[in-house]
């Protein structure tokens, strides 16, 4: 009886935006008389940080300090359509709508600044809240002064709208699944290595380390994207070794009804996590960003399952990999069945063994 260590690896991919697209997001922006910026969008922030991310995108695109941005996603009267915060779409799709709205506001600021400075707007740029003549930085006007001029001199409201919608990709051949357009926006990629210890007496699997690499396209906010990746890792650890609504699935008995009887990961389960971020920009996300919010919990379960095999030589392919499952697998020491060139694992779990109305593959 011993505690054994093992390592496993997994590489994954994940699409950004709703599968088959057709999911609009919109934003509108207005500028207050002192140049402060109000952003209205319908994107719920579920902890993913979309209020922050969209505010950063707007500040960057217009060319004003982040602190000047007020972000309002509070209600459907003032905020335009956002399909919602799911499908890893809040940064990529809704963020793009915010970028487009901000670009329109930037143009409007440049137009009015051009009148004030008597310079062609094409020869102006906005840096840190000041509109500056390209190549002649002494000729400038602050964005607050532009906003005041718009309000009090020209009688104009500086505003801009933006919308992002990728057309619905139709399945044109239901028999093959062929689609007429890419059914996704950018695809993100990640790899994960897991190190576990397995106690072959108690069956307890402890995830001790995770190494993860994510291609995020562009890290709009490194702190928040690291938070997504590390938070996702812990959720993936839960999928791998802890969480289960129906401990004896498919039986519905023994279902937990409170946190005391449902094992979600706690701080004591946290492994050492090393995160590597690479930036291979997308072509149509804001500033090259992709969406990695969801995939952050996808790579750990298979890496953990392989690490358990590496440690104790048994495959547990029903999740989570509980002590009971590990001990039963160690007891059974099941070998795959081999017949000619066909190797069949997990025969006892297959529809071939359990059901009578559907079958799969080659019986060994």
């Amino acid at each position: 009886m011993a505690v054994k260590t093992g390592r496993g690896f997994a590489a994954i991919e994940y699409p950004t935006g709703m599968n088959q697209n057709g999911d609009p997001s919109q934003a509108w922006i207005k500028v207050k008389p002192d140049g402060r910026i109000d952003v209205f969008a319908g994107t719920s922030d579920i902890g993913n940080g979309s209020k922050t991310i969209q505010s950063q995108i707007v500040a960057e695109t217009i060319g004003v300090p982040y602190e000047w941005i007020t972000y309002d996603n509070s209600n459907t009267d003032s905020s335009p359509v956002c399909t919602g915060t799911f499908a890893s779409r809040a940064t990529f799709v809704a963020g793009k709508a915010a970028e487009k709205a901000a670009e329109n506001v930037r143009q409007k600021i440049l137009e009015i600044a051009g009148k004030e400075l008597e310079i062609d707007p094409a020869d102006l740029e906005i840096i840190d809240g000041e509109v500056i003549a390209k190549g002649a930085p002494q000729k400038k006007i602050s964005v607050p002064d532009v906003a005041a001029a718009a309000t009090w001199t020209y009688g104009e409201l500086i505003t801009g709208t933006g919308a992002q919608l990728k057309p619905y990709a139709t399945i044109v051949e239901p028999e093959t699944g062929k689609v007429d357009l890419p059914p996704h926006s950018a695809i993100s990629y990640a790899s994960c290595a897991a190190e576990v210890t397995v106690d072959d007496e108690t069956g307890v699997v402890t995830v001790t380390r995770l190494w993860q690499c994510y291609d995020v396209g562009k890290s709009i906010n490194p702190t928040l994207v690291e938070g997504q990746i590390e938070g996702g890792a812990v959720q993936g650890l839960g999928l791998g070794v802890l969480e289960n609504c129906y401990p004896y699935y498919p039986s519905v008995e023994h279902r937990g009804s409170r946190f005391g009887t449902y094992l979600a990961p706690g701080m004591e389960d946290l492994p050492q996590i090393d995160t590597i971020i690479i930036e291979n920009p997308s072509t149509d996300g804001p500033y090259g960003a992709k969406g990695i919010g969801e995939m952050a919990n996808n790579a750990q379960p298979p890496a953990i399952a392989s690490a358990v095999y590496d440690a104790v030589g048994v495959w547990v392919t029903e999740l989570p990999i509980t002590p009971e499952r590990v001990l039963r697998a160690l007891q059974a020491k099941a070998e795959p069945t081999r017949d000619g060139k066909t190797i069949v694992f997990d025969a006892e779990l297959s529809v071939n063994a359990v059901g009578s109305g559907i079958s799969f593959g080659t019986a060994a």
Binding site: I46, N73, T76, Q235, C245, Y249, S257
Partner: protein, 455 residues
């Protein structure tokens, strides 16, 4: 200062951690009625003689049943043309334990619970089905009138299919066929904030809906459809959510509260208990996946057959969407030229399953990546190198024949190999995502790749 790329603090982070953020449950409206549900006590049954009269006779109590809903069935995916199969409130049958039947509003939480306690109905219990593998058996309990699996994919197909190349030829040519079964569990979203909603009937005839939804406009659309109201009659207030993970894309409480606010003329509030959140709210689906891969001795994956049974629970909700997404990604981060995928959305008498972080793909990532590790071990090939070899590259095509334009599979694998100190042969260390040539264009991939001139 550059805003993009900066580590600015979370917009509302300080307010969150100091308890100052106003979530839905922090809203206080005088005169608010508490809401509770009368739910199915059984997994599968015919229902008759629903009697709410004793509850309605109680002081200040209001009750809604299926008869109060202008449009009883409106599907989560109705806007995409996918037919609805779930009544907002059960009418003459119940298909899962905890299914809502009647909803009450009362002046206090205790009064609401007392009102629920005096609602009665007769349930004629039927055998229940929980194992998706048995759903196709001749003697399986029949859950839906139309059968035990969803039948409304394009052309009214009863499954999601992917076909690519010639899978039988690939299996004939294979040196080895590796087959396995993968079964990730149902998972609770387990947000700190349970499902919660407050609806206020305004003096101007509008309804203000304070909601924890992940999708303000989507939820507004669902409420408007059930109540048959134009959007100007509704105002959804929210945008700050105490944890969602996919479970709050479901419109779990808003519609019923809106109906009760209309009926009572009073503000109403429904906050699910922790027990309701765990036992009645939707879950991540359990999936049953079987994979058979045709492989060569030197590690090329020639073809894949896959069967997926997606446990939808009692109603389809977002499951057809999730299975389609699953099918589109069933080769993972690799190029496999010959494919035969069949996937079914299978009904069981389980709490309906729904979206959760990684919807449709978390399952297939587990299955395909565990399977890849098994193949590597069977072949005696380094697991990183097996993956690098088959990794999708620029110009390869997806299961549904879309060209990969810029995959990062190879760089992310190399980055982890370096991080953990996993040695690779120089040939593999030098790999890039670039178009396949030379050894990376083996015979089986000739003609399977996109023609770069065509794009």
């Amino acid at each position: 200062m550059k805003a993009v790329g900066a580590r600015v603090p979370r917009y509302d982070g300080v307010a969150h951690v100091t308890g100052h953020t106003q979530f839905v449950d922090d809203i206080r409206i005088p005169g608010t009625l508490w809401v509770k549900a009368f739910r199915s006590p059984v997994h599968n049954a015919g229902m008759s003689n629903l009697d709410t009269s004793r509850a309605e006779a109680m002081k200040g109590v209001h009750v809604i049943t299926w008869e109060d809903v202008p449009l009883l069935e409106y599907g989560h995916l109705s806007a995409l043309g996918i037919p609805a199969d779930e009544p907002l409130l059960a009418k003459d049958e119940v298909r899962y334990l905890g299914q809502p039947i009647a909803i009450v509003a009362a002046p206090t939480e205790e009064a609401a619970m007392a009102a629920v306690d005096v609602i009665t109905a007769d349930f004629e219990e039927l055998p229940a089905l929980f194992d998706v593998r048995k759903a196709f058996d001749a003697d399986a309990p029949q859950i839906h009138a139309e059968g035990n699996w969803y039948r409304h994919f394009e052309n009214e197909m009863d499954r999601r299919q992917i076909r690519k190349g010639n899978v039988e030829e690939a299996f004939d040519q294979a040196d080895l066929i590796v087959q396995g079964v993968y079964r990730p569990a149902a998972i609770e979203h387990a947000p700190i904030e349970t499902q919660v909603c407050q609806v206020v009937p305004e003096a101007n005839g509008r309804l203000t809906i304070y909601s924890c939804t992940q999708a303000l406009y989507f939820s507004m659309g669902v409420v408007a459809a059930h109540l048959q109201l134009p959007l100007n009659k509704l105002k959804v207030v929210g945008g700050t959510v105490g944890g969602g993970f996919g479970g709050k894309v479901d419109t779990a409480t808003e519609t019923m509260c809106a109906l009760l606010a209309q009926k009572s003329g009073k503000p109403v509030r429904w906050r699910w208990t922790r027990e309701e959140e765990f036992l009645c709210s939707s879950t991540r689906a359990p999936w049953h996946m079987e994979i058979a891969d045709a492989v060569t001795k030197d590690g090329w994956i020639l073809g894949r057959k896959m069967l997926t049974l997606h446990d939808s629970g009692a109603y389809s909700r977002f499951s057809p969407y999730g299975l389609t997404k699953h099918s589109f990604h069933h080769t993972g981060a690799y190029s496999i030229p010959n494919l035969e995928f069949d996937g079914y959305v299978v009904y069981t008498n389980r709490t309906p399953t729904t979206a959760m972080r990684g919807f449709g793909v978390t399952s297939v990532s587990f299955a395909t990546e565990t399977h890849m590790s098994r193949i590597a071990l069977e072949l005696g090939i380094d697991p990183y190198e097996l993956r690098l070899k088959n990794a999708n590259r620029i110009g390869d095509t997806s299961p549904n024949q879309i060209v990969y334009t810029d995959p990062s599979t190879v760089p992310t694998i190399l980055a982890i190999a370096d991080a953990v100190g996993h040695e690779l042969t120089p040939e593999y260390r030098a790999m890039t995502p670039g178009q396949r040539t030379g050894d990376l264009l083996p015979e089986h991939l000739v003609g399977q790749l996109a023609d770069p001139e065509a794009h």
